[in-house]
């Protein structure tokens, strides 16, 4: 694969949903942003966004819902170029992967001018339980696929050697910190930067809290 150095920014942001009891999350939501600027002009285009839910021990049901797709500088192809297992929907609206099969995957190419891709991820978080041995969680993975070569995914620093740029294990009490992002590697040398960007609703709540804090401080200052 001959690619110019690429710069990918995979931003993962903010969790949201909780359930009773409050200490445990039954789902986790966050935003992913992939900066594909460094792919511009690469002769191996078009690349594809590859989304995968791999089954773990296989004793619980989980799903990953992908929505709010936003693409800058270009478009998605409009239809998948690879599917496997249990997936439904499209990048045009909402895509759902369920762990009905060992591998559940959806890939779709994007045009050469694309500079960033963003989407929202909502994962159910049911922990695997086993009667013996070590439980293996279901896992959501994201790859970039180079369709013009036989070498496959754009290589990454993922420690398992999978070439994923994002891996997220699904389990009870999962938080944003359990979502792992990785940089691409030579010959696609690049740097992944991860930036936590709160959801809009969370931003609003944070802003209200900040205003309240400032107001309280001002009031105390004036009283003093």
């Amino acid at each position: 694969m001959k690619l110019t150095p690429i710069l990918l920014a995979c931003g993962v942001a903010a969790l949201a949903f909780t359930a009773t009891p409050a200490a445990r999350a039954t789902s986790l939501s966050y935003y992913v942003t992939i900066n594909t600027t460094s792919l511009l002009g690469n002769s191996d285009a078009p690349f594809s966004l590859d989304l995968q839910l791999a089954q773990g021990s296989g004793n619980v049901t989980n799903s990953v819902t992908l929505s709010n797709f936003s693409i800058s500088g270009g478009t998605f192809a409009g239809s998948s170029n690879y599917t496997d297992g249990s997936e439904s929907g499209s990048l045009g609206s909402t895509l759902t992967l369920t762990n009905a099969d060992l591998n559940n995957e959806f890939a779709e190419a994007f045009s050469t001018g694309v500079t960033s891709i963003a989407f929202k991820v909502t994962e159910t978080e049911n922990s695997e339980e086993v009667t013996s041995g070590t439980p293996v969680p279901d896992q959501f993975n994201v790859f970039l696929d180079d369709n013009n070569t036989s070498s496959g995914f754009v290589p990454s620093t993922a420690p398992d050697g999978s070439d994923a740029i994002l891996e997220s294990a699904l389990f009870e009490n999962a938080t944003l910190s359990s979502v792992k992002t990785y940089s691409t590697t030579s010959p696609d040398a690049g740097v992944v930067t991860t930036t936590a960007v709160p959801e809009p609703s969370s931003i609003g709540m944070l802003a209200m809290a900040a205003v309240g804090t400032v107001g309280f401080a001002v009031r105390r200052f004036r009283r003093a």
Partner: protein, 579 residues
């Protein structure tokens, strides 16, 4: 402080054990827990196994004609006993080698936490089976409401932080090991289709409430109506007591807070609770958990006699309300549920253990060593043929054994849950009369053994099993596996496994990760084992060991299996020899 010094003592024992194992070449194979993979605890009430010369209650099981089934299990010539071992010296009294009480901090007289050397009434014993301590409980209060046992425990833990508030079922679920409490009479519908547990209106029926309707049973209830027929004793009476299900007293496993019960159907922990009426279908479908606690209602567990005459085993009738009726009801229940479990595919697979257990002694005095409790273990892995273990056992032995079987480590200095680290009663030392009324009658002389006293100290239940069945300690390594990522271009599933040394000392032997019973190919295998799960692929985790508390990560690469999920029995191995 006594408790701390005892912990240090056993911490030293643990260290010595570790050192000995390291010197001998092989430290520990966590794969050993594969020997027993499924456990059923059948929790029964009050009746003594033996009571010496005390005849204040006609409540002794051993040799009692009202208990033909339980006695058949411990009769060597009986076919029922082929896979049975039992304890002859299982004590309700908890002492250590010097005769000191270890289960609690002092006495009622000094700090209000109850008498030393005994645990009564019921609830403290069920709490003990979860936490390795009664955690100050000395009553039968429900977990919430005006009596609020959960808050009581929380207050105790806040005052005495050296005690761990962890419980066994929480350790299991935190380690991804399935557990389920089969609680008779709960999670059943009333005649309006509601879960009777929380509705507490109408009449109980035999209809199992489906998931989504079930609620956490946090309030005791009883009653009778023809709408309900008990499938074991045939009566129309029901009697559920929260106090007999220990996991309901811990927020981690009751899905509630310290102060507020969560009886909504969305309580995340409710999936771990099922009516006993579901056990048959779970056995038939082979969907039981790894750790299963069976809590019969208060009639079938021997606590309370049915109101009418109870006919059993051809005997014309045990009078309602009588001690013998309670014994007969208990025996009748066991004679049905134990063979049902034994007939299941799960048991027939050869890795299941059934434990018949009673919570506390009765009598006068109830706490001397003549009064013993029931501990009958039924398993293909038992020594069998009614092997009569003579070591001294207590509830600590059970808790320690479950931690060892399932390899779950508590956040305590020893890794054991509180007094599960204290290896039950010893044969030497001076008995101490703790409160002036609960002494060891007839056992006042210095020097051992006393009548009814066992022949040695038991760390766990391993003497009741064939050698090597019960792991000799807690795992020195913990494993955390990531999920899989599939590279469709290379056709490889990859995974990372993080291995952590949970001991307080370094491991100097080589560390390997063994994947027994793997249903596909491990592409990056370093070879196959010779001495541990022979023929299994393995990878080298660390050739030079691992510092205390340190972690390291290895990557695994699998070929896609022919069907279904990737399946393996992943275990760590520390050895200086061929893996």
């Amino acid at each position: 402080m006594r408790t701390s010094s005892i912990r240090r003592t056993h911490g030293g024992l643990l260290s010595a054990f570790v050192l000995g194992c390291l010197l001998s070449g092989t430290f520990m194979v966590t794969a050993a827990r594969a020997q027993v993979t499924t456990v059923f605890y059948i929790l029964l009430e009050n009746r003594c196994w033996t009571s010496g010369t005390d005849i204040s209650y006609s409540n002794v099981i051993k040799g009692n004609a009202a208990c033909p089934y339980l006695n058949s299990l411990v009769t060597a010539s009986n076919t029922n006993s082929a896979q049975v071992s039992y304890a002859t010296a299982y004590h309700n009294v908890l002492t250590n080698a010097t005769g000191d009480a270890v289960s609690m901090i002092g006495t009622t007289a000094t700090n209000g936490f109850g008498i030393g050397g005994s645990v009564h009434p019921s609830e403290p014993n069920y709490v003990f089976m979860e936490a390795g301590s009664n955690l100050s409980k000395y009553d039968d209060n429900d977990p919430y409401g005006s009596t609020n046992s959960v808050a009581q425990i929380a207050n105790f833990l806040a005052k005495y932080p050296q005690y761990s508030g962890e419980n066994l079922c929480a350790l299991l679920q935190n380690n991804g090991i399935s557990w389920r409490a089969y609680v008779e009479g709960t999670c059943l519908e009333n005649n309006s289709g509601q879960d009777y547990d929380s509705a507490l209106t109408g009449n109980l029926t035999n209809t199992v409430a489906p998931p989504g309707v079930r609620t956490m049973p946090l309030v005791s209830f009883s009653g009778s109506n023809s709408s309900y027929t008990n499938e074991y004793n045939g009566s129309h009476q029901w009697n559920f007591a929260v106090k007999h299900t220990g996991s309901l007293f811990f927020p981690a496993t009751n899905g509630s807070t310290v102060t507020t019960p969560n009886t909504s159907s969305t309580n995340i922990e409710i999936s771990h609770y099922a009516p006993l009426e579901q056990l048959s279908s779970d056995l038939a479908n082979n969907t039981v958990a790894a750790y299963n606690v069976i809590t019969p209602d208060q009639y079938n567990d021997g606590h309370t006699a049915l109101s009418g005459t109870f006919v059993y085993n051809g005997v014309g009738g045990y009078a309602g309300g009588s001690d013998l009726a309670r014994l007969a009801q208990m025996d009748n229940f066991c004679s049905i549920v134990v063979p049902e479990i034994q007939a299941s595919a799960n048991y027939q697979a050869g890795h299941t253990a059934i434990v018949i257990w009673t919570d506390e002694t009765e009598g006068s005095p109830q706490d001397d060593y003549y009064h013993t409790l029931t501990e009958i273990v039924i398993s293909p892995l038992c020594k069998g043929n009614a092997y009569a273990g003579t070591l001294n056992y207590t509830h600590s032995s059970d808790v320690a054994t479950m931690q060892e079987i399932f390899g779950v480590v508590a956040n305590t200095p020893t890794g054991y849950l509180n007094d599960a680290a204290n290896f039950s009663n010893a044969t030497t030392g001076t008995p101490v009369n703790y409160d002036g009324t609960h002494g060891f009658a007839g056992q006042t002389a210095v020097g051992q053994p006393f009548p009814g006293f066992g022949t040695g100290t038991a760390q766990d239940l391993s003497d009741l099993f064939t050698p090597g069945t019960i792991p000799s300690g807690l795992p020195g390594l913990s494993l955390t596996a990531s999920g899989y990522a599939f590279n469709r271009h290379t056709n490889v599933y990859t995974q990372t496994v993080t291995v952590t040394n949970v001991l307080s000392q370094p491991i100097t032997g080589s560390i390997y990760l063994v994947l027994a019973n793997l249903n596909t190919t491990l592409n990056n295998s370093a070879g196959t084992t010779v001495n541990n799960a022979p023929g299994s692929p393995y990878v080298t985790v660390s050739a030079g060991g691992l510092a205390a508390g340190a972690s390291t990560t290895v990557s695994l690469q699998f070929a896609p299996p022919s069907s279904g999920p990737i399946s393996d029995q992943m275990d760590s191995l520390i050895t200086t020899n061929q893996p």
